[in-house]
């Protein structure tokens, strides 16, 4: 509750009362998502793109693919770079400027989900070891922030990767030459982020902006298609009991298949 000093405690009271009755302010059940939609190919000029909406939350992800030098300690691996811009269009509280704590966390958790689940084989993205590799940029542009950005950003990022096509290069005499052809990035896993808020003693799924403002803490569990967990992030000023953690993991594993369906059905 420690962040609540200035934000009206009244709002927290109302939200808690609603939750106590088993229904949330917007009428949802505690473990219910808002309406989810995923659409691919929204930015034709990008190598891959998608938008995801969860309720009024709206995120666009774009994938750009370039050629660059590998990192010194992984000379035979491509590079994945994930960034998030909390564009000031998205909320009265966002300001233009360099990425803040929240947008850095968002990008890093989405990145971790993709990286940990081995969704992309970075080894397959090497052209000339130590010298030329593919660099995959995933840029997340938040257009409207109505809570639970993380799940929407994660959906948009994975959908954009599903649809991304990388240019094919020919390697000749230690140089790379574009062939003009493209081929899909091979996506081996579809990691799904599921976020929950702990408010009082209750865990609610897919928190709204208001719920996030009054929550005690958030926990995001990213799950792959085999039901394995491939990233966890607890974020917020209160602790969790182990029972709450077990419950959060369980909810995430149960809900992920529904989100994965939305992802796979996206055009």
């Amino acid at each position: 509750m420690s962040r609540l000093s200035i934000i009206p405690k009244l709002k927290r009271r109302k939200i808690l009362d609603a939750i106590a009755s088993g229904k949330r302010m917007d009428g949802r059940g505690l473990e219910e998502y808002r309406e989810i939609s995923v659409r691919r190919g929204v930015v034709e000029k990008a190598e891959g793109s998608a938008e995801a909406r969860i309720g009024d939350t709206w995120v666009v992800a774009g994938v750009k693919i370039e050629i660059g030098e590998p990192f010194e300690d992984t000379p035979d691996e491509g590079i994945l770079v994930c960034s998030a811009d909390f564009a000031p269009v998205a909320s009265p509280t966002f300001e233009p400027g360099p990425p803040d704590e929240a947008s850095i966390e968002l990008a890093r958790v989405v990145d971790r989900g993709i990286r940990s689940s081995d969704a992309l084989s970075l080894k397959d993205l090497c052209l000339i070891p130590g010298r030329k590799v593919y660099v995959i940029y995933i840029d997340l542009c938040i257009l409207n922030h109505a809570g639970n950005l993380l799940d929407a950003a994660s959906l948009a990022a994975v959908a954009a990767l599903m649809e991304a096509k990388k240019p094919i290069y020919e390697v000749r005499d230690g140089e790379v030459y574009p062939t003009g052809e493209v081929e899909p990035l091979k996506l081996r896993r579809l990691p799904i982020a599921v976020s929950m808020a702990k408010i009082g003693d209750v865990i609610v799924l897919d928190p709204t902006f208001d719920e996030e403002e009054v929550m005690d803490t958030r926990i995001t569990v990213t799950v792959d298609e085999e039901g394995n967990v491939c990233a966890v992030q607890k974020s917020g000023p209160q602790g969790l009991s182990v029972e709450e953690i077990w419950k959060a993991i369980e909810i995430a594993v149960n809900k992920a298949p529904m989100l994965r369906e939305k992802l796979e059905a996206a055009l």
Binding site: V42, V43, E44, K45, A46, S49, D56, W58, V60, G62, V63, K64, E66, S83, D85, A87, P88, V89, A90, S91, P92, P96, P98, P99, Y137, D139, C141, L143, N144, H145, A146
Partner: protein, 240 residues
């Protein structure tokens, strides 16, 4: 006119705009917003305000301050753009402000700020004009009292032909590009820039052609606003 026969890369007539789609009220959080597609340009504009100015010392005692920020998403161009603001972004933010300011009754909101944010999702030539066009719609959507709308488009010259509304290719390989913003009812040009080489007479023809384009766009802006208004009325009725 021989230009009537000559055709452009994308098949348009010399005085033909690209397909334009304008939608207002697309962002639930913003006080006003609009989405525009102009050819392959895809731009979202949000308006926040009138609201309190931070930091306070930038406020003006007898009028609102208009602030405009133009930003291109990293994936909006090829190759990828760095996410930070470029010098071009800063300049376009400035000319957007100058283009929109004359149309707003700023004096009605002393000490306040009105923030206009344009986010370019995909760029295809003419993003500054499309951003201004969408911003004017978003300002009305935010309920901000306006003297007039502002519509914007460019004219220019390619292979000797004067043309309307250059796309990315025409912008890059053409001889000149003249972006214009225009208030149709007040008959004032509020944005005028030029790049390239034109005889003064050609420049005049470009400006006149761009103004014609703006007048057409003005109709599309009004339709978008009307459509939204009718939707709202509909919703209100349904809600009754």
């Amino acid at each position: 006119m021989s230009e009537e026969k000559w055709r452009r890369v994308d098949g348009r007539a010399w005085n033909e705009l690209r397909p334009i789609k304008i939608e207002s009220g697309v962002l639930p959080n913003a006080d006003g917003s609009a989405y525009i597609e102009m050819g392959r340009n895809k731009i979202i504009v949000a308006v926040y305000g009138p609201r309190e100015m931070h930091p306070k010392h930038l406020a003006k005692p007898d009028m609102a301050v208009l602030r405009c920020r133009y930003h291109m998403s990293p994936f909006s161009t090829h190759p990828r753009r760095s996410p930070g603001p470029s010098r071009r972004d800063t300049e376009i933010g400035m000319v957007m402000r100058y283009a929109l300011e004359p149309a707003i009754f700023l004096e009605r909101f002393p000490r306040a700020t009105i923030d206009v944010y344009a986010e370019v999702l995909q760029a295809d030539g003419g993003t500054r004009c499309a951003s201004i066009t969408a911003a004017a719609v978003a300002l009305v959507d935010a309920g901000i009292p306006m003297r007039d709308l502002v519509a914007a488009c460019a004219a220019g010259k390619i292979e000797g032909h004067i043309i309307l509304d250059l796309n990315d290719h025409e912008d890059k390989y053409g001889e000149a590009d003249v972006p214009v913003a225009y208030m149709p009812r007040l008959d004032r040009v509020t944005l005028l820039q030029m790049d390239g080489v034109l005889h003064p007479d050609e420049l005049r023809r470009c400006i006149e052609l761009a103004i014609e384009g703006c007048q057409h766009i003005y109709e599309l802006q009004r339709e978008a606003l009307k459509r939204k208004y009718e939707e709202v009325v509909e919703e209100v009725k349904e809600g009754e």
